[in-house]
């Protein structure tokens, strides 16, 4: 009898502990939001929200100082778009290759390769970019190599594993009967894949692209090593010229910033965080739409 009571007690305590552990994630998210906004919002208010977001002049050490991050927002959008242009077609085709075309002996090489790409730290990508991509761009395309182009190439490679593995599983999930129907109508294998199977997997493919955007827009170290990091006036932004993004703005200046300058860098993080929240929200709306269908 005592034994049962005791085990009842421990059952209830442990259940409470499990629940509390689960709550820690919620607490962590709340704390991150709270402290980022607590430090970031007052600075945005002091600078002026419009001035902060729509001014292209960033000169925290000038007199008078100016804190406009428009150029970096545009920079982030440029390198992310570049990454998508490079990474999505290659990744999607590679996913199609893995599911539909690749013999199982080749699969055993390509699939682990994709997993390995996902495991390589961003510092390695950045260093590789600095030592291989930057000189390549300098010699073959012009400019000094530290550019939107180099950043896009590196980010394009970095989002490959995300795009490939999620597209792969969503293409795999398309029911066999779709393809059979298409074959029955006389379509070739390639026509079936591109006109029937891939369109049927589009919500999963879209998810993979959004996750790729999230990875590219938030990437810091790989970008800081290849992008050159100069703040460019909007009309001087060129694909072979250096660029500064939201993330690299934080990393390049945080070590010597103080006062309003430091807060403005945290506010830059807040803007980035808002971008990420928007991406997450669109992800969950895709998910719930797909579930309803």
């Amino acid at each position: 009898m005592q034994n049962i009571k005791e085990s009842n007690f421990s059952e209830i305590t442990m259940q409470a502990i499990f629940f509390l552990s689960a709550l820690i994630s919620v607490l962590a998210v709340l704390a991150i939001c709270l402290f980022l906004f607590m430090r970031g919002i007052p600075a945005i208010a002091e600078i002026g929200a419009i001035d902060f977001i729509f001014n292209e002049k960033w000169g925290p050490t000038n007199t008078p100082a100016s804190y406009g991050i428009l150029s970096m927002i545009v920079g982030s959008i440029y390198v992310t778009a570049g990454a998508i242009v490079i990474g999505v077609p290659i990744g999607l085709l590679c996913a199609i290759f893995l599911v539909e075309f690749c013999p199982s002996s080749v699969y055993k090489i390509v699939k682990p390769a994709v997993n390995l790409l996902a495991g390589i730290p961003s510092i390695i990508y950045g260093f590789f970019g600095m030592e291989a991509i930057v000189p390549f761009v300098r010699e073959n395309m012009g400019g000094n190599g530290y550019s939107i182009m180099s950043a896009s190439i590196i980010l394009g490679i970095m989002i490959l594993p995300t795009v490939i593995s999620i597209s792969e599983s969503s293409i795999r999930a398309v029911p066999e009967s779709y393809a059979e129907g298409s074959y029955g109508l006389g379509a070739t294998k390639e026509e079936t894949v591109f006109k029937v199977v891939v369109p049927a997997a589009k919500s999963g493919i879209l998810t993979s692209i959004i996750l790729g955007i999230g990875r590219a827009i938030g990437e810091t170290m790989a970008v800081v090593m290849v992008a050159g990091n100069s703040v460019m006036p909007l009309d001087k932004i060129k694909i072979l010229k250096p660029i500064r993004t939201l993330t690299t703005n934080i990393v390049t200046e945080m070590s010597y910033a103080s006062g309003l300058h430091e807060s403005a860098l945290i506010s830059t993080g807040v803007v980035l965080f808002v971008f990420i929240i928007i991406l997450n929200a669109s992800l969950s709306s895709i998910k719930s739409k797909a579930q309803r269908n």
Partner: protein
Amino acid sequence: MDRTLDNLKQRKIKSQIFKSFVWFCGILTVGILVYILLFILLKGVPKINMEFLFGEYNSETLSAFSSIITTVQMIVLSLLISVPIGVFCAIYLAEYSKRGNKPVKVIRLAIDTLAGIPSIVYGLFGMIFFVNILGFRASVLSGVCTISIMILPVIISSSEEAIKSVPDTYREGSLGLGATRLRTVFRIVLPTAMPGILAGIILAIGRIVGETAALIFTSGTNVLKYPSLDLFASQRTLAIHMYMLASEGLPHSRDMAFATGAILILVVFFINYSTTKLAGRIGRMQND
């Protein structure tokens, strides 16, 4: 008749072109990986020497010894914090929660959000909260706290998946023999799910080893001559060591950045190999 034949020929050619594109992209992906790995390893491995691995840090050796020790220390401490929390959370989600109730939805949303936050934002949060508000200053401790939150979603999702893959018959058997729910979880479910949980832990180790942006303002970039386990000292990990060497831009430090990169890649190899092995075991279990 002629037209349909022509049409068919055209379609065949188009199909061939598509097919070669698809093959090209598959090969390209492998090619990129091989190129990156060889690029770093061929230049890095010959530069690795005993001085670099185990020597005192100075401008001559640029030794990675103390950053290696700090990296290991950081791995151990952050796992000590986040593995229990993560596994318990996974137990709650997989075994105790009712599907679709409010707290579960909120918890899942939080985990998804944590997984999507970029490491630089974790770094900023760590700097504001642990470094400044809690007064840990730039130290290994601040780094550990920040990293522990960052790896939580990795551990939770792989543990949850592993727990869910344990066949229900196992639970029923244990409950039928009169074991309590808790006993079933600890004696039957967790041991069976262990390979999957371990795979998640190893993935988390991979993230810690490669992390830079979240640590640069929390544990800092400082380097000591000899390894030290002082929690309150600012010390760099291996990845930050590589970043600092790479951004110095001198030929010697560049060589040593290659060497550090080679070490990191070897660690990633090992991590990848072990997770694949463990995942294979889980797959077999499900097929049984």
